[in-house]
Symmetry: C2
């Protein structure tokens, strides 16, 4: 069998991955205005940090500590993430002293790394400059962080759609749905970083349980979305229904550039997420100035408190579920007819919104596909959620809430 | 928001997952005849075991030891699998002393576990009885194995199609493509087993680096395929382009039953895999009797030797790539029109075969999507594959093989 020529293959710059990322409009700066200096953040000062350290009171501290682990599937994901992370940190492979004999062209290397990201299982991959303002000044343990890297390779993992659609957005399965994405990203970014170090390049993964970076800015800088009303980054193909992790490196790469798919305009008119938020944490008005940039500023304590104290499930992601940009079961080929214009996209999302409104934001599979059990841990025992104070094992599972 | 009734939801028995598994014809026994007693196997007696222990000579022993690790991406997957497995074994959660208050109906539990498998990321999930003949008598380390469990919950992970299609079947990326699937299965089965133990049920994962079970029989018994000419199990939707792992348990479950999609007849007439096998290890004739059952018996030493000594890449999976049941980019909705008959399926596969023959078994993306580098480790350094004896770092990557 004849061997194929590699030059054309390595330089091929058609779309990478399944989504039409090559049709996106690239722009020189983020679509939300940055007017000042963005200060580095201390992870302990985040709402989850303040919950952990008791600044929001004892009840929130206690409930935060068991937030993921009180639901058995969340606890399993927690165990796995914790075990894997600790083991990887103990046995980190060194950077090979000599560079592998591979091309040095950033274009070839960028394509290689992106193809690798998809091969590892990422739903989308982007490359951006690493802004030092995106690096936490300190982590939850109070350790001072440094990340002397030029680029961030950002991987997105879509939450499992069939289950996500079947949940109301704050049920027991919502937190495990995030962890399922975190788990994939953990393995993908660690494998990628291990591989890059083997090729002779410094590379460090930033992922669940030990994020070095505040992900929204990193995702924005990698051209994977725009700031949305929810306060988080929204991707035109996945909506906000994803988690992100990254590999930081000094390998010379090409950055993708910022994208503009008209979201600032869309979100300024659409307030679905704000209306549907069970805690009222999302603003209904215009963007405001925060830490040097304009954004729809989430009331993050209100949001976090609802997550932590939620008695009808675990955590909450109602905003990302009802957002009309979260197109249920959308597949790459749904975008085959896309001409690259914002008009086409916005019309598509408007049609989705009309469907959501007609269904009162209840996906049809909510009536058939809720497969998880309502359980809660109390004093080391699993109890049926609504009866947890009686702590009895039900011989017959209560079949209606 | 009104709470939904759970009875109908928990008992809903429509298709689980994306593939039309509910249209498959179920039969009381495997479609390949079993005429005697199937003996348990010792993993050390497998071709890879014999390679490892030097029974096939020094060169094969030496090359086997570095088979996966001589290619840097394979080495990264190896590291991760090894690190994770060791860490999980050291920190295994116990079986909860009390059962969780969940329904005991095997039908409800089977649906729950299958939905969970898909949620965790499996491409297909099946439940079968655990035959003791499928449990290795001893593992590679010589440890005697016991698996006192009634059922095997089997998860299939499809290899990443876009890369698999772009490879000829024995290039450098072929081994990492298997490990990418193994890595997902490792996390999925360990998370599932951890969760089931939390619910109070014994559960043990059998996956990469520490398989307790010989997977072909387990996959067959879970109704996930039939014996193929390649000697391995073929699934009607994924072809043989998958890896498998399982969770063993005594939780009372419903088994799926064997399936019959006419593969014994199809493979008896089709010899594509045998003709295309680079080592000639696949028989072109009829099935023969082996260890108590009829099968197309692979010359497994010849196959294994080719894997181990392959100088044009890592390992080999040419048979699964060229098999017309491996339908490139086939998606669940391609089967929307399927009436459940073997005729429809075979016609579909025949059309695929005609396309493959017309393309001389070279997928169009082989000309554009080979993104991996040709590297090999020699004395601790990565060298360009074809020049590995010179051990020089090429400033310019040789752009043609």
């Amino acid at each position: 069998m004849e061997r194929l020529k590699y030059r054309d293959i390595l330089y091929d710059d058609r779309q990478i991955g399944l989504w039409p990322t090559d049709k996106l409009k690239r722009v020189p700066k983020p679509t939300n205005d940055i007017v000042g200096t963005i200060e580095r953040r201390d992870e302990r000062e985040s709402p989850f940090g303040k919950s952990l350290f008791g600044e929001y009171g004892e009840e929130i501290q206690r409930e935060f500590m068991r937030m993921t682990r009180r639901y058995p599937l969340g606890a399993s994901f927690w165990d796995m993430t914790d075990i894997v992370n600790n083991a990887i940190l103990r046995k980190r492979n060194p950077v090979a002293p000599e560079r592998a004999p591979i091309p040095e062209d950033p274009r070839v290397l960028s394509r290689h790394i992106k193809m690798l990201g998809h091969f590892l299982g990422a739903d989308l991959v982007g490359i951006g400059p690493l802004s030092q303002s995106a690096v936490y000044s300190h982590n939850m343990k109070g350790r001072e962080l440094e990340a002397p890297f030029k680029y961030a390779i950002v991987l997105l993992a879509r939450k499992y759609e069939p289950t996500w659609n079947a949940a109301n957005g704050w049920e027991e399965i919502v937190d495990p749905a995030s962890f399922q994405a975190y788990q994939r990203l953990l393995m993908q970014t660690e494998t990628m970083a291990n591989y890059m170090r083997r090729l002779g390049f410094e590379a460090e993964a930033s992922n669940m349980n030990r994020y070095l970076t505040l992900m929204p800015q990193v995702v924005l800088d990698a051209g994977l979305g725009e700031v949305s009303r929810m306060g988080i980054i929204l991707n035109p193909f996945l909506g906000a229904n994803f988690k992100a992790a990254c590999v930081l490196t000094n390998m010379e790469l090409e950055v993708d550039g910022y994208i503009d798919f008209g979201l600032q305009d869309y979100c300024s008119k659409c307030t679905v997420c704000a209306q549907q938020c069970p805690s009222g944490a999302i603003p209904r008005g215009p963007k405001t100035l925060y830490n040097g940039y304009y954004t729809w500023k989430l009331d993050s304590k209100t949001c976090s408190d609802f997550d932590v104290l939620n008695k009808e499930g675990c955590v909450c992601g109602r905003c990302t579920k009802v957002c009309p940009w979260h197109v249920p079961f959308a597949e790459p080929r749904d975008f085959d007819a896309w001409d690259g214009s914002n008009e086409w996209l916005h019309k598509y999302v408007d049609a989705q919104k009309a469907r959501l409104v007609a269904e009162n934001y209840v996906h049809p599979t909510e009536a058939t596909d809720k497969w998880w059990f309502q359980l809660d841990e109390q004093d080391g025992k699993l109890v049926f959620y609504d009866e947890r104070n009686e702590q009895k094992v039900c011989k017959e599972y209560p079949l209606q809430r």
